[in-house]
Amino acid sequence: MGFNPLAEKGIPIEKQLRDWSELNVHPYDKEQVDPYTRTRIITMNGVEIESIIFSRQFARRTDNQEIKRALALTRRIEQQQQKAVNWLTPGEETTLEVTIGYEQTAVDLTAYIARAEPDPYLKQTFELGLIEDSDHLYRYANLLALLEGKKAERITGPLTEIMPGRPTVAEHRHPFDDIRAHYDKNTVDPLSRLHVMTITAAEQQTLNFYMNMGARYIEPLARALYLEIAMIEEQHVTQYESLLDPLESWFQQEVYHHYNECYLYHSFMSQESDLRIRAIWELHLNMEIEHLRVACEMMRRHEGIEAEEILPKELPEPTLFQEDKQYVRQVLAEQVELRTVRTQFVPLDQLPEDAKYFEYQDAVNGGGFAPSERVIEEQVNASGDDYRFMPEGPHPVQGLRRRAPQN
């Protein structure tokens, strides 16, 4: 029998508050950290923030003191959890180095989830985003080389290839074409729901990070690249959040948020190599078990639904960080020309002439060279070549193989 958080005893919520010193954790050593420890931290930071934002929205929809207090108490603990997780990031890591970590997270998390996803439509949606995030990693890696003279592979290790994906310049879609159909709560695989929630949270935090940190740069090219990619992250959040079934009530969504946190802390605990950080995942799992219990109690009391009616008997198979290079290559090779029309996926050469895609492309790319293209050109001009890390061989797409220096 697997792990069922409903059957476990967590830490009583009144005993979960931690003092400042407990929250101000010692950051990891950026030279020594396992790249996937970093990506797990980035993921859980986003997942905690999503849970907090959701709780806020829920709280704004009620004046019931019992509900508001329960949400406020859990949310305060979640804020502490977020600090304890995000403060693992060392100040020595530059914004661009952290950004490389974000994009490695996006690539390998999305790849794992897409591969494990049982629903073909959701899988396709994840794959569409996967090779866009892969391209962001490549663009930022070149910015890192240009501005800081560093190789991104020192951050990502040998785990993730750095190469062009679906070119960022081609990713800009009309907002109408980023909305997807959603799963149905009565038939969705519990794992699919967790996938959607996890990806939505991770992409939302990526968007938040870029839209705030991008403006902190002096270099015009960096400011430009962050804003361009932040706009794609807006597209990704629009895409992923639209996969959620709006028929799930506030109380049910509150339950699912904490169930997902239990699931991810449990998943990440199982593969964490850093014992100190593993202990944080374990502590937070034991806290989340209690948050889940509180959320389930609210749902039972105010909606008459028992947790066992909507949650599986045990956690689904874990979500892990692992190398997925061949999968990413395969998706790239097969789908680099894929676009969307409303909720459907359509190859570029089958887009109608009056597709919104072209209209939007003209609007945002019409003013000149896109920052995501310029960063590559400047890197080529500066060092004679773009930066790539491709231990698995030539690029799977002929048209994206290395080009000769422009000058």
């Binding site: 929809r61 799963y183 039972r300 105010h302 909606e303 008459g304």
Partner: protein, 207 residues
Amino acid sequence: MTITTVTRMTGGKTTPIGMTVAPPERRMGLSDLDGFGVDEELEGIFLANFMSAFATHERCGVHLYRMAAGLTQIPEWREKYMEFEDHTKDHLRVLERLIERLGGDPMYVSPQARMAEFVATKLMEPILLEGSVDPLTLELTILEAVTLAERKRRLNWKLIRELADQMRETISKQAMQEAVEQVESDQDEHVRWAETAWLRMVMAQVM
């Protein structure tokens, strides 16, 4: 055990339309639905979708009574809510059996059922505004929700009764008649009690 929330784990199936998607093995095809009530040459697809919505009303009714019983401060009302919850579970079982006898799948959740659930869950939301009303208003609002839900459910059963009355002598007709006979008096009692309790309580405040 009565299944009051349909999920994948309970065998949930749907017909994805519009903005909904479902894995292939969870999709109910039109040909699957077309056989519904086939011995009566009924519009099987329409009826299957409607009966699914009826089942959703019964399921949401169970949830509503659970919530109401937990919240009310009036012991007599709590007792009734608990009693009616048990009745509603029985009605759900009767309805699920009827769906099976008509050739359907009780775990099928039609698009109409999704909408039925959407509307029904709104009846549970008064609790969100509990902080700015007095306890009596909350009690009455929950009772009004019960009244509305019961009226709708009685209307559902009335439709089944009327359909059965107009059918030829078939297995479907017999199944419908037997089902209605098992729940009709309970349904009448639920509506009668809810309306009477509401009237009494309001009158007591006014006079």
